[in-house]
Symmetry: C2
Subunit: 108 residues, 2 copies
DNA sequence: GCCTCCTATTATGTAATCCGTAGTCGGATT
DNA sequence: AATCCGACTACGGATTACATAATAGGAGGC
């Protein structure tokens, strides 16, 4: 039943990532550790491309300490554009919650 | 900004589908119409395989009227297993809502 | 100086999913 | 019988997900 949720949870985690990037710097290993702490596993092959895509789309801004080699920690923070996306997502989560959890019938 | 949401919304719609399948019969065109009514477009090439996968996984039970040819409407309803998944998902949505929308810090 | 462990990201190949467009089929309408 | 409508199917390409293995610098120990 655990991998049942995977397909959905990945989306949720993405939202979490944006949420946290709003107030702190986020990087790959941190996310991996946080999720593990909560009993979930996400592999590098899933997570890093994901962060990278978020940067490409302009949701996250990358900052890496200079002169620290090719494997240096990459810290991401939310951009203005990412903030816009996050705001929309929050509205969507609110709606989803209302309809699916609280059962308010807004129709689909 | 609209396709921004697509990646996330598709997951939400899947949850909606399970939610509705709990209390009524759901079929492809109905979902497409409902989403369109709310301003979203999902193409057959996305939706039908999705419903099909949900059936494969045992979340939905297929019922098709007999002797109605290869293009007959396929109606799905929630299985017991699907109900279990939906329950888990509701909890997850609740958590997501608490943390990301209401800002209750449960960490990550 | 060298070995080892730890933190991090990168590389890579395969599988699964997503997507739009075009196609098919039966029934109702005209 | 010709057309339209409601529904699903087929298909090919693009994107995303995934696990595993590889790489690279830094800190300690000796």
């Amino acid at each position: 039943m655990r991998d049942v949720e995977r397909e959905f949870l990945l989306s949720f985690w993405k939202i979490h990532i944006l949420h946290h990037a709003e107030t702190r710097h986020v990087f790959g290993q941190w996310v991996i550790r946080e999720l593990r702490r909560h009993g979930y596993e996400v592999s590098p092959g899933t997570l890093y491309p994901l962060l990278s895509r978020m940067e490409e789309r302009g949701w996250l801004k990358l900052k890496v300490a200079p002169d620290t080699g090719p494997r240096a920690r990459k810290e991401y923070s939310l951009t203005k554009r990412g903030k816009g996306v996050l705001t929309l997502l929050r509205e969507q989560v609110e709606e989803l919650h209302c309809e699916v959890v609280l059962g308010k019938e807004n129709e689909l």
